[in-house]
């Protein structure tokens, strides 16, 4: 008996440790939110709840335009990187060169942001120089300007950043899909695209949507690659980091940090809540089915 009693307590303690660790990792984020809602800002003795600093952010034209650029980048990354990641996951299932392919796709996870960004920056500059030289030589003016630092180069940097995550998330959901279903659909006369759209996609939809949500969050958070490759425009995080490092933090900066955190927390919270509800409803229908079978 004593053994069982102690193991119950050690089980509870382990849970407590796990939750405490997550909470500790979140302390800076919650502290930021706490400060951002204080009328008197950071370090003040008094505390009064306000949304004033958030409204200041949304009245600032510079920040609104930075916000717009960030959203546009996030949308374009989702539109390009998610299909690429999906195609990559499908390719992985059939290719013979699995190890090399996985290494190529997952290596960007391991290479630190500043190193990737630096090498891409020099790569794009070289490419841009070579293309404009080629355009001058051949007179084909459309050749030049493709890889001048700007939206496109930032987008390429973000695709490389997000593709490993998308690839893994989609691959994990695909693990539960039986490829025989595609074969069955094909032998019934469906084209590859139809078999994918009508049979496979509905089953891996959850994975694709979570991958898209992750992509939006990752793009929203990203700083290093975007700020090196973006050229002229500003994103939300690049404004924030320049305030942190150069002009100093104002109440408004904490509110910006709060917005960045809330976007992530609400999206992830939404996904967790959605999957939990879905699992519950699946279990319920399963139970009803079993009951019906037994009574029938």
């Amino acid at each position: 008996m004593t053994d069982e009693f102690s193991s119950v307590w050690s089980y509870r303690l382990k849970w407590l440790y796990l939750l405490l660790l997550v909470a500790t990792l979140m302390v800076p984020v919650f502290y930021n939110l706490y400060i951002s809602f204080n009328k008197f800002g950071f370090g003040a003795y008094n505390y009064e709840f306000t949304l004033q600093w958030y409204s200041v952010v949304f009245q600032d034209q510079l920040l609104l335009s930075a916000f717009g650029w960030t959203m546009l980048l996030a949308l374009c990354t989702v539109m390009t990187a998610v299909p690429l990641g999906l195609v990559a996951a499908k390719f992985f299932k059939t290719t013979r060169f699995k190890v090399w392919f996985v290494a190529l796709l997952l290596l960007p996870l391991f290479v630190p942001a500043d190193i990737v960004a630096a090498s891409l920056l020099v790569f794009f500059k070289n490419l841009s120089f070579s293309l404009s030289w080629l355009a001058d030589m051949t007179g084909l003016s459309w050749l030049g300007g493709w890889f001048d630092l700007g939206f496109m180069t930032a987008l390429i940097g973000l695709i490389i950043y997000t593709i490993p995550y998308i690839f893994i998330v989609i691959l994990i959901t695909m693990g539960r899909y039986h490829p025989q279903q595609t074969e069955a659909a094909r032998s019934c006369g469906a084209t590859a695209w139809q078999a994918f759209r009508d049979v496979e996609f509905p089953q891996i939809r959850a994975g694709i949507f979570s991958a898209a949500a992750f992509t939006i969050i990752l793009t929203f958070n990203e700083y290093t690659r975007t700020s090196m490759l973006k050229g002229g425009f500003d994103t939300f995080t690049s404004v924030l980091i320049s305030q942190m490092l150069n002009t100093g933090m104002s109440e408004q900066s904490y509110a910006m940090g709060g917005i960045v955190s809330l976007v992530a927390i609400l999206t992830i919270g939404g996904i967790i809540a959605f999957t939990m509800l879905r699992v519950q409803s699946l279990e319920r229908t399963q139970r009803l089915k079993v009951n019906a079978d037994m009574s029938g």
Partner: protein, 309 residues
């Protein structure tokens, strides 16, 4: 055999089965075949080639605003014979400590979740660690300043409890601050990698060990760690390399001299010394690939991918 243009399948949905123009273009032997090569081509062109070219560019000669083709070891000499190399070595040391702390704090969680949490709930518990990981690193790192600072959260809290009378000022802007920042940033990774790796340790092994009377420590050292080694190693390499490469953490939390490879590279770019930045990048890539190669020879890293392959 006559093929009709439209075929009824399953629940009555009409699908096209004949080789129309659209079908030929996107059919099995059309563009579709090449579509699947697109991710690989993209990654080779925009990731593999640029990172490999860093080695070539690192031998170029520096000009006033850019660089020109040449073959000089100047950037490497500049790196290895200046304070940069000492900083690089000490950032390696700090990164190593971060890896050990992350392992001690994070890996037991992966073991606990795999062993004691019901199978259906395991992924949801791990999802908890996605939350801090998904909040921007900028916020998590920068906000450690007010948390750990002189009038910050930790000091106020400890003072109110009466544990300390004077605020502790030796955390921020010291190597300790950098290590705390790295652990706070990268801890979820060892949990994820460990969780994947623990797939290789079947649950019955714990029961067998218990029946045979093996101590917990013995089970951990002789059974769990060897079986989960590929995942632990991958997580460790990730933390180590990012500790060396993420410029933000020493930039915000480190004091003078807290400079890692990422910061050297970004500072070199700001100073328009592109060959030096490329040399640092090349050194980082070689370090990373060397570590992965050694790990692969020792533990066969492809084993981690078995659950998803």
């Amino acid at each position: 055999m006559i093929r009709t243009n439209k075929t009824q399948v399953g629940g009555g949905r009409t699908i096209l089965a004949s080789p129309t123009f659209f079908g030929r273009l996107f059919g099995d032997n059309g563009l579709q075949k090449y579509l699947f090569y697109l991710p690989a081509i993209f990654m080779v062109v925009f990731f593999l080639i640029p990172t490999l070219l860093t080695i070539v560019w690192s031998f170029f000669e520096r000009t006033l605003f850019w660089m020109e083709p040449g073959f000089t070891f100047f950037s490497y000499i500049n790196f290895f014979t200046s304070a940069r190399f000492d900083n690089f070595l000490s950032s390696m040391f700090h990164s190593g400590i971060s890896v050990i702390i992350c392992f001690i704090l994070g890996f037991p969680i992966a073991v606990f979740v795999r062993r004691h949490v019901p199978q259906v709930a395991q992924h949801r518990v791990i999802l908890l660690f996605i939350l801090p990981f998904m909040v921007s690193e900028i916020i998590r790192t920068f906000m450690l300043r007010p948390v750990l600072g002189r009038n910050g959260l930790v000091n106020t809290f400890l003072q109110k409890l009466g544990i300390i009378s004077e605020p502790i000022t030796s955390i921020l802007f010291t190597p300790l601050g950098v290590i705390i920042g790295e652990v706070m940033s990268f801890l979820p990774f060892i949990v994820f990698a460990g969780f994947l790796a623990m797939e290789a340790v079947p649950k019955y092994i714990f029961e067998v060990c218990q029946d045979l009377g093996a101590s917990r420590w013995r089970v951990f050292v002789d059974i769990i760690v060897p079986l989960a080694a590929p995942g632990i190693f991958a997580g460790g390499v990730f933390i180590f390399v990012n500790g060396l490469g993420v410029a933000l953490i020493p930039n915000i939390l480190g004091g003078p001299g807290a400079v890692n490879a990422g910061l050297i590279a970004t500072q070199a770019i700001s100073a328009l010394d592109f060959p030096l930045a490329m040399a640092v990048s090349a050194i980082m890539m070689i370090t990373l690939l060397g570590l992965l190669f050694v790990g692969h020879r020792l533990f066969n890293l492809t084993r981690i991918l078995e659950p998803i392959a």
